[in-house]
């Protein structure tokens, strides 16, 4: 006998299923770009129907497409670790009903996701824990047990392998979240710019130089810089300004001043691109104030963040001792500014609310400030002047 609550639940489930199909598959109206899966990108072979269902329910519960995909990938990595520990394949239900095995797999310090040689950090444990808890909540009907009970058992098993620090679990054998390696120096950036400008194919040299200069002069994130539209540039007086359309954690576009040197580089790119595209017989143009994606590759498509990051890594590998990625340029900007400006001003220039992010993630690592050649800052209040007593 079905109760009214069961009927309601069934109806909502059906509606949600239909809605999910409509959101992901329909392209009518104005679907958000996040809701539409890119055509022609097949699912990896390891995606099982259960994982697919988990991702779909995470989307229904309000997670973005990319975040839901990450959760699915994390669950898969836990499954893989568990299978290695057991020495045989483990199914999803069996893993999540066995709290000890799940905790052991989540705490395993070896990375199996092919993301480089870095050992597992506490951050990875936290994200694995979130993914496991999310799956328990969303797939309660599939697991056949109450989510709260499963989560409680999982946490108890975790405590046997980890230390509890505040509200988080820290790996006993894992490396704590550390600083990234030292950012590139000014010489590295300049050498990279020289290397990039040596390329004479099409307009790529001018584009790449302008892009790296924009990152290195303004400290923009790669994701913010790559999405620039030509209309985002405007003039205030004699200054060229850029309304960065998507800045992290900001609800509205953020204004950034473009220094004249970078403006010259941008103009050179626009000129080279338009010359190239006109010779090819196309009517497409880019420009400061002209609608359309500003960074192009190939000429009729927007440049992607993956390709831009690959370009930076490729050229840095040719010119620097230690290859670096696009975000290292932001850290380079922060550390360069810290030498000449107060920390609070640097934090504001890079659009952080306080100096904590600068101190913990972007500033010079402890013990690096008094290396040979480092002089005390002339800005009052930043560093203790020479000869001053400690504690004063």
């Amino acid at each position: 006998m079905t109760t009214k609550a069961d009927e309601t639940t069934g109806r909502i489930q059906e509606a949600a299923r239909q809605l999910s199909f409509e959101v992901i598959a329909s392209s009518e109206g104005w679907p958000s770009p996040r809701d539409v899966r890119r055509p022609g990108k097949p699912r990896p072979r390891w995606v099982t129907p259960q994982l697919l269902e988990f991702e779909r329910r995470a989307r229904l519960a309000g997670w973005s497409a990319s975040a839901a995909a990450v959760q699915m990938r994390l669950v898969r990595s836990i499954l893989k670790v568990a299978a290695r520990q057991r020495g045989r394949a483990v199914d999803l239900r069996g893993l999540f009903l066995d709290a000890d095995l799940l905790a052991a797999a989540a705490c395993d310090a070896e990375r199996l996701d092919g993301r480089g040689d870095d050992p597992l950090t506490n951050d990875t444990l936290a994200s694995r824990r979130i993914a496991a808890r999310l799956l328990m909540r969303l797939m309660e009907d599939y697991l056949g047990a109450e989510a709260d009970v499963l989560i409680e058992k999982f946490h108890a098993a975790l405590l046997r392998r980890c230390d509890l620090k505040g509200q988080t679990y820290c790996l006993k054998s894992g490396r704590p979240t550390g600083r990234k390696p030292d950012p590139p120096t000014e010489r590295d950036i300049e050498a990279q710019l020289r290397d990039v400008s040596a390329c004479r194919a099409a307009y790529y040299a001018e584009r790449n130089v302008a892009f790296i200069c924009l990152l290195a002069a303004t400290g923009l994130r790669l994701g913010s810089a790559i999405e620039i539209d030509g209309r985002d540039f405007y003039r205030l007086g004699s200054n060229l300004c850029l309304a960065v359309p998507r800045e992290k954690c900001q609800r509205e576009p953020v204004q950034v001043h473009i220094p004249p040197e970078v403006e010259a580089g941008l103009v050179r790119y626009v000129s080279a691109f338009n010359r190239y595209i006109t010779e090819r017989g196309s009517t497409q143009k880019v420009g400061l104030g002209v609608a359309g994606p500003f960074w192009r590759s190939p000429p009729d498509r927007a440049w992607t963040s993956g390709a831009a990051a690959k370009m930076i890594r490729f050229h840095s590998a040719r010119t620097a001792l230690r290859p670096y990625g696009p975000h290292a340029i932001r850290r380079f900007v922060a550390q360069s500014l810290v030498k000449t400006m107060p920390r609070r001003a640097v934090a504001e220039a890079l659009r952080w609310e306080g100096v904590a992010t600068l101190d913990e993630h972007y500033g010079p690592a402890p013990g690096r400030c008094l290396e040979a050649g480092a002089r005390p800052s002339t800005v009052a209040g930043e560093r203790r002047p020479e000869g001053a007593r400690a504690g004063t």
Binding site: V209, Q255, I258, R268
Partner: protein, 375 residues
Amino acid sequence: MPELERRRRKGRGRNPNWWPDEGSLTLLQRYTEGRLQSGSQPAASTVRTECDYLRGMVFASISLGGPTTLEALRDDPQTVAKILREWPRTQGTLGSMLAAMLRLIDFTVDDVPEAERLKEQVQAGLYPRPSGNRSWNVLPRTVGGSRRVQRRRPVLSQADILKIVDAASVASPDDETVLRDRAIVALACWSGISPYELPTLRWEQLLGHRSTAEAPWCATIHDVARRGRLVCIPVVEDAAPYLRDLVAAASTGQGRLSGYMFRRSRGKEHPLTYSMIRRIVRLAVQNAGLPASDDTTLKRAYATYLKQRGLNDYAIRDALGLKTMASVESRLLQHRWSAAQRIAAEHHVIKLPGPPANEPTTLQLSLDAGLGDEQ
């Protein structure tokens, strides 16, 4: 030709300017009456805005190929849900549209089970909202839309503000309108008065006084109704010449001035409308050669100007008629970031590789500079 028909034919292009039909107007009237008589007693301006949301939904429905009248739209919950999911507006706007539509169903559908069915179907078509306390299959629903504000808000300096006030008279047709438009733009730029409040200002509210070093105000506007409270908003002394000119033009030598401060050039008894005030400010910004700036942009520039004049944050809060310090902080933040970034750009110069020797030196800035010019 009847007024409605004339207005309807005025629309051009793919999406004509929609003007509500008689049935929709009747529904809107019923909505207004029901809302004003409801227990919450909202302000008339609030109800007017809600009616605008409903009209906007009909416009969206026409654009999406749905019903063309408000009544038909109300009876089509699938289209309502589609608008609320997909119409490109912010989450706040779509949420207000949803609330207005649910109230419209309450006020205008007499059959209670039918009203409940319509509301339930609208809700069922929306997105599930994540909640920590509920399972995924019984989640509450929410509208679509983005939380991000797409409009650009440039960081204006005091020099830019002066340019705007100077350019206020460019689009004014006669001398009298020049004085009025300048005073409007001066108040928008140098006081905490919002464009919503400007049309309703009366001479009786304005009280002039002498500015001092500690209090740089030339006048105060009393009894400005703002969110259920009456606030007193000062006007900084930079606006004094423009207000003085307006007072001189309006005074007839018969005692104290009374009536609306900003009146229409035709039909002198009526105040200017909100849209006209916005148009005056928008044209002033455009004629000053600056990127489009809304009221928030001007208020941010004003708050920063007061900060530069040495006022503390509490004084700025009172000058802008704000309630919380968080609002003051949000008005000052963009300017602070921009100033810091400008200094950083001066400190931090990257050596760019120069242009190759074999490349032409003429540069093309945009589409306006044709390539033929280079050859």
